[in-house]
């Protein structure tokens, strides 16, 4: 028996999360091909961008706008990636790593690896949870992306299979767990309404990146009004 046995609870949690998240790589792969990207381009996104929200955003905008949407597609993906930066700040204090290992850790810094790591009680488990979940999601997400992309490329017209509706459902699924109080709901509602209001007026892809920051700013504005007491009953997301 080794002196410090690996915590098998952390191992099974990491692999379980990895497999569950990886599975929906299938929907990403199929949607990406339906949006006009090649199988190879789709795979490169999962390997290099490796952040679900940003990946869905970039293919969503490219699918809707074509080559004209390149700049808003990049900006949407970039803005959605901001939260990974905050996970990285947290993980940097936990992982005690340096140099090249940081480059690798950065690539594996996503919602799930941070969440599993953050839910552990000891520092040892926190590190293990990060690396194992990050690696498991990476392997499964990429494998299922390939499967989905290959499936998507033989399916034909995406609307026939409801793949456009699947894209809407995918974004709803990404935002759903974050809608846990009145403030979050109001921000989401304002963002949707403002975006739809701007759609006829602005080139496609732009309304999202304009409306989202305004919705957040409006929430900070609301907090300065008599609405404040009402909003503060609900703690921050």
């Amino acid at each position: 028996m080794p002196k410090k046995p690996v915590n098998s609870r952390v191992v099974s949690m990491s692999l379980g999360v990895g497999l569950a998240v990886g599975l929906y790589g299938t929907s990403f792969g199929a949607l990406s091909v339906a949006s006009g990207l090649t199988v190879w381009q789709t795979q490169v996104l999962s390997l290099f961008m490796f952040s679900g929200g940003s990946q869905f955003a970039i293919i969503g905008v490219l699918g809707a706008s074509g080559p004209a949407g390149i700049v808003p597609a990049i900006i949407s993906a970039w803005l959605l990636g901001i939260r990974n930066g905050f996970y990285a700040l947290r993980l940097n204090s936990v992982l005690s790593i340096s140099g090249v290992v940081k480059l690798l850790a950065a690539q594996l810094t996503i919602d799930e690896s941070n969440a599993v790591s953050a839910s552990q009680e000891t520092e040892e488990d926190s590190k293990l949870g990060f690396w194992l979940t990050g690696a498991a999601v990476f392997v499964f997400w990429n494998s299922f992306t390939l499967l989905g992309a290959l499936l998507g490329s033989v399916l034909g017209k995406p609307e026939t299979w409801g793949l456009d509706a699947a894209a809407a459902a995918a974004f709803l699924g990404l935002v759903w767990p974050r809608l846990k109080n009145l403030q979050s709901n109001l921000i989401a509602l304002m963002a949707v309404l403002l975006t739809l209001l701007l759609v006829p007026a602005l080139p496609s892809g732009i309304p999202v990146i304009v409306a989202a920051p305004i919705a957040v700013a409006a929430m900070y504005g609301l907090k300065r009004t008599p609405m404040r007491r009402f909003l503060e009953v609900n703690h921050d997301a």
């Binding site: 901001i82 930066g85 947290r90 759903w176 974050r178 304002m190 006829p200 496609s204």
Partner: protein, 105 residues
């Protein structure tokens, strides 16, 4: 599309820039709660806006079609705590069936 490679590569670098930034900034920044809360709010706004676009927009026009019905079913499933992959697959099936059997847009 060859021009998509630009979006893919620049986009990947852009997303990575946040990830690596967190590992090079001084550790005390990690304790600034305001910044963390702001990032959370922005993420919600972006994902909600994208949900709206994927549901109601076609080109530059607002439309009501099978996607809204499919999204409603997906919402019901998320509310009942169904897994992501199940809700997404069912939403696709709902839209496909409405189009095939009822001729919805």
């Amino acid at each position: 599309m060859p021009s998509y490679w630009i979006a893919i590569l620049v986009g990947s670098i852009a997303v990575y820039s946040w990830k690596i930034l967190g590992y090079v900034l001084p550790k005390k920044v990690a304790n600034n709660r305001e910044v963390v809360v702001f990032a959370g709010k922005l993420t919600i706004a972006l994902l909600a806006a994208l949900t709206g676009v994927e549901t109601f927009v076609s080109g530059q026009a607002l439309v009501l079609d099978s996607r809204l019905a499919a999204l409603g079913v997906a919402a019901l499933l998320y509310w009942r705590k169904a897994p992501f992959i199940v809700a997404v697959a069912v939403a696709a099936a709902v839209a496909a069936l409405l189009r095939h059997f009822l001729g919805w847009a």
